[in-house]
């Protein structure tokens, strides 16, 4: 997932540069998207047709094939957000800040899906949609933290200010994930122990049920990567537009103040060949 600007001659696309895409898609995302679609079809087939009902939970176990991978990928998104936040605060890397932002939004989606599927799994197995159980409560807190991160990141302020404030919140995500993950071990809860690796490397399921669960991890993992690439590029475009708007506003203010140099040429970021504020790259 890279975002690069093709080599230019004083900011203009070179003759050999490929045509700029009109969307956030690329060959990589198209291959990933196709693999994800095929994977979802296979996952539905295995989850509903080929895998058997559970001896204890019956058909309700079919929710597990999306619930558990969703939760794991939500944790992955939180990890990426914390990593990106650390690297932004340390190196002031905009690339990593945008990775953190994109990951946080996707993690919020996966956490919401985890909560929804968990409630629908809880009703037939526990008899209630929701209890203030340690796992459920800490997961709800994780969702609130992610929403808080996104809200702070979108506050109207200069990029560096909102990125820094959001990054500080992003640091709290991984510690929160550890609490969520360990909550079923640290406290007595209604929620079951982890399906996989709760007792060393042994799992509590086997055969087609185990395969279907791993297929769920693979398919949702592919979808996560596909989403992350697209969302990163959307965030990149948003920042480019914000930069352009800032450049235009400054140029307008300078023009109002009579912003011409001694030679009578226009000055300011909108002048031909002048660097932009954000990137320092020459403009066409």
């Amino acid at each position: 997932m890279t975002t690069q600007i093709a080599s230019t001659d004083e900011g203009r696309p070179s003759a050999s540069a490929p045509e700029a895409p009109t969307s956030t898609g690329s060959r990589t995302t198209r291959v990933l998207g196709l693999a994800t679609l095929v994977g979802f079809a296979l996952l539905v087939l295995f989850s509903f047709v080929l895998s058997p009902a559970d001896d204890n939970q019956g058909d309700a176990v079919r929710i597990m094939y999306i619930h558990v991978p969703s939760a794991t990928l939500a944790y992955t998104g939180c990890f990426l957000t914390t990593l990106g936040s650390i690297l932004y605060l340390w190196k002031r890397s905009q690339w990593w800040e945008l990775v953190a932002y994109a990951s946080a939004e996707i993690a919020a989606l996966f956490t919401a899906v985890t909560l929804a599927t968990g409630m629908l799994w809880g009703r037939p197995t526990w008899g209630v949609y929701w209890v203030w159980d340690a796992r459920l409560t800490t997961t709800a807190m994780l969702e609130l933290l992610l929403l808080g991160y996104l809200a702070v990141r979108r506050l109207p302020a200069e990029y560096s200010v909102r990125a820094k404030r959001a990054a500080v919140i992003g640091l709290l995500l991984v510690p929160n994930v550890i609490i969520v993950r360990q909550s079923v071990q640290w406290w007595r809860t209604l929620h079951q122990k982890p399906t996989l690796f709760s007792d060393g490397l042994d799992s509590n399921i086997e055969g087609l049920m185990l395969f279907s669960l791993f297929l769920g991890f693979v398919v949702l993992g592919l979808f996560f990567v596909w989403l992350l690439i697209h969302r990163f590029r959307v965030a990149w475009l948003e920042e480019q537009i914000a930069d352009t708007g800032l450049d235009a506003a400054i140029a307008e203010r300078r023009a109002e103040a009579g912003g011409v140099d001694a030679a009578g040429r226009a000055t300011g970021p909108s002048a031909p060949g002048a660097p932009t504020l954000a990137t320092g790259e020459a403009q066409p």
């Binding site: 697209h230 590029r233 537009i241």
Partner: protein, 45 residues
């Protein structure tokens, strides 16, 4: 255990609907923003 099927179907529909909805919104927003950004600033590799 036929009583569990409505919950199973609802869970899957919520997941697939949420994923599809978010993917479509993201793609459409990307297309809309791409039109507003100069070509040299949106070259993916």
């Amino acid at each position: 255990m036929t009583g569990t099927w409505p919950y199973v179907i609802a869970a899957w529909l919520i997941v697939l609907g949420a994923f599809l909805g978010y993917a479509v919104v993201t793609i459409l927003r990307g297309r809309s923003l791409s039109r507003q950004v100069p070509p040299e600033r949106r070259r993916w590799s």
